[in-house]
Assembly symmetry: C2
Homo-oligomer: 181 residues x 2
Amino acid sequence: MNKSRKTIAVDMDGVIADTVAQFIHWYERDYGIKIGKDAFHGKPEIEVLPELVMKKIVYSAGFFRNVPVMEGAQEALLELMQDFDVYIVSAAMEFPQSLPEKFEWLKEHFPFISWRNIIFCGDKSVIGTDYMIDDHVRNLDCCKGKALMFSAGHNFGIEHHTRVNNWKEVIEFLKKEVRED
Amino acid sequence: MNKSRKTIAVDMDGVIADTVAQFIHWYERDYGIKIGKDAFHGKPEIEVLPELVMKKIVYSAGFFRNVPVMEGAQEALLELMQDFDVYIVSAAMEFPQSLPEKFEWLKEHFPFISWRNIIFCGDKSVIGTDYMIDDHVRNLDCCKGKALMFSAGHNFGIEHHTRVNNWKEVIEFLKKEVRED
């Protein structure tokens, strides 16, 4: 680790992994019901599909292993790694069966991220990075560094964190931080 | 999390898990060679057993799942949790097969530790707890809080961190910190 470089914690689900697309895909595949991304607008993901369906899906083998990559995430992390130490920080401990799946997923889609820079945790309150990119307000509210809220249906209307709508906006924000540093 | 309580990162291997006892046990079981704890004195664990044997052991299924609990660790963590928010922070990412094993081991031996307080990581440099209890100097050297070095053969002779020889000494040190706070 280069001590002069700032550190960033990057969330997985909803930030580099398109979990919503995976929910939609699995719901149609297993139950024949097609819903759009707009169904996730303005409410917690747990309230979009029937609760038992949701729980069954997130505890199923293969759900996290096969989630699509969020658009632009790979190129963006490669670019950020030129200026920052990038850590993947996922609240994976709630779904312990996801631990090896998430590790394998990262190895496949983000092979340039070292195992040294992967953190699977429960709550994120003791993560001491300079920046945190996350879609969940509960993580951003208690983070020690600067918070960047990655847009998701469930964080619609929340305005007390800097919002970034996509990976292009993340890059723009952080490149500006580097210039001003 | 109670914001007024200080946080502690507690390492697993060599601190709450008696990994050395497990090395000795497996080496004798699989190779018929009995060594004592003193063989680990003053050198890295990787240099005690033949390198290929060591690597085979740490990547074997069941090694981490069945490691004995370090003497006094359970009672000590229960006592510390009265005054501190205790996080288990293990550099498990180097051995990804250990992730589910370590989670199950914690569930069995430390059922009072919530999944919210478990962190599996690579390097520990972005862990922002007030205290870190660890046996590895590389983790303590870059930790953000106060470092407590848990005695192990491999850290013999290193004197730039506060040394604790067992869980009784950890409790004594931290109870004193609470009184002086």
